[in-house]
Symmetry: C2
Subunit: 290 residues, 2 copies
Amino acid sequence: MSEVQSIAIVGGTHGNELTGIQLVRHLQNSPTPYSDNFILSFILANAEAIAANVRFIDVDLNRQFHLDNLKSSNSMLYELNLAKILNQKIGPKHSPLTDLVIDIHNTTSAMGPTLIVLEDSDFYREMARYLKQHMPEANILLEDEVPYQEHPYLCTVGKRGIMLELGAQPQGVSRSDIFTQCQSMLQIILDYVDLHNKQALPSSEPVTTYRFGEVVLFPMDEEDQILGLVHPNLLDGDFQPVKINEPIFAMFDGSELLFKGDKTIYPHFVNEAAYKQSNVAFSTADKFMW
Amino acid sequence: MSEVQSIAIVGGTHGNELTGIQLVRHLQNSPTPYSDNFILSFILANAEAIAANVRFIDVDLNRQFHLDNLKSSNSMLYELNLAKILNQKIGPKHSPLTDLVIDIHNTTSAMGPTLIVLEDSDFYREMARYLKQHMPEANILLEDEVPYQEHPYLCTVGKRGIMLELGAQPQGVSRSDIFTQCQSMLQIILDYVDLHNKQALPSSEPVTTYRFGEVVLFPMDEEDQILGLVHPNLLDGDFQPVKINEPIFAMFDGSELLFKGDKTIYPHFVNEAAYKQSNVAFSTADKFMW
């Protein structure tokens, strides 16, 4: 397995997710312990959105890294052009300069520190195991419903790419406990990559992992008004199981809507503010030992 | 003391504070238990901001109800003109149609259900006591640093006006537990006003109350970048005491900044997302028995 030499650490892909922005700024101004081991670059991805304290200016930057988008002609949309610039800087996708892109995000849902990986391979599996060993409170989320490079995420312009997702934190807020947690998480990931390069990884144990299933929409009326809210049972407990016939929505009329699937789900991204526009209440996952 | 006949229940003064918006919509479509006792009106204050899921379009609507603003000529600013329309509809300030305005807000800080009153008088003191008796988890915040009508808040166009402030809830998110809490809080306030009208209030006990002091800014460098975050000790515990020389900021360089005042403070609006732009980290309060 090839070495990971160049690493891009990215914050501000979404301009109102402050932990990554502040951590990248801090790292830019600090002596980096790993500067001898890696070629590190620190990137604040969406400067305009950061300045405006919004998720994005025109469209979600973290959905613009489809190869089709990157090959299209210039656009009126700020983030579509920005994606092309970033693709040149840290990609380009399919023949990248960067061996690993670490993109730092926040969520308003109580997902704790979650490592999102996009491919079921040795490198990511061992990373997940190493992280969980050194940060037991971390969650592992595998989104491999499409091949790695077909994802539209910024981190996929790297040869490898992951997302660190930390919550619960409101948009436009930075919590000191989450900032510290993110620092630790990043350090553990860099430790892992260094040990991977040196072929010095300790033996690992299978790790509880959640695999993305589908999104669940709010119940809506014919005029596109929501009819209820995510049930109290699902609040502040992302990745906790919900069984068949357990309530998932508390309706404004006082009734409850029950989960009518065919197997236990593990909701996450519960009440993520950014997904309100698409009426997404939460995502589901399966659980397995990886 | 005069009767309270007309009550305006307002949501969406800030377009991304969803609890009040959804509660007003729900009440508009539901049989209202108090329709015989009061003339109730339900108002979604800032329709454009609600549609855009933002706090405001041009300027903060809840700071535009100074008498000078309301008397000024037409403006390019959407919310300044909107304030004049709302002033005619539920005010006008100084000779109002509405006896009581109840304006519902959310905060990203962990203030729980907080009743904000703007004047130290029998009516509000007894309301605070009645609320606390029926909802022990509620907090009472008195902002009487200026006379009632000199406040710039929407609710001050009513003869009397209060704000219900519920948190922690991220902007653009609606939590079912907070929605239910807001329903209960509103019900208790209406019960109180009904008993007040009937001169049938039970005897009351003094209530712990917080009186607004001042705002505390984030520590900043010369380039207007913040140098630290609100200390973990202050997170998720609004209205908990901070004593002299206790830490209030965790600096990015690893150090702590201590509180250098001359008396114990009770921080609130800790990490309120909307105050980021003004670099406000939290507000302080004194505590007293009211």
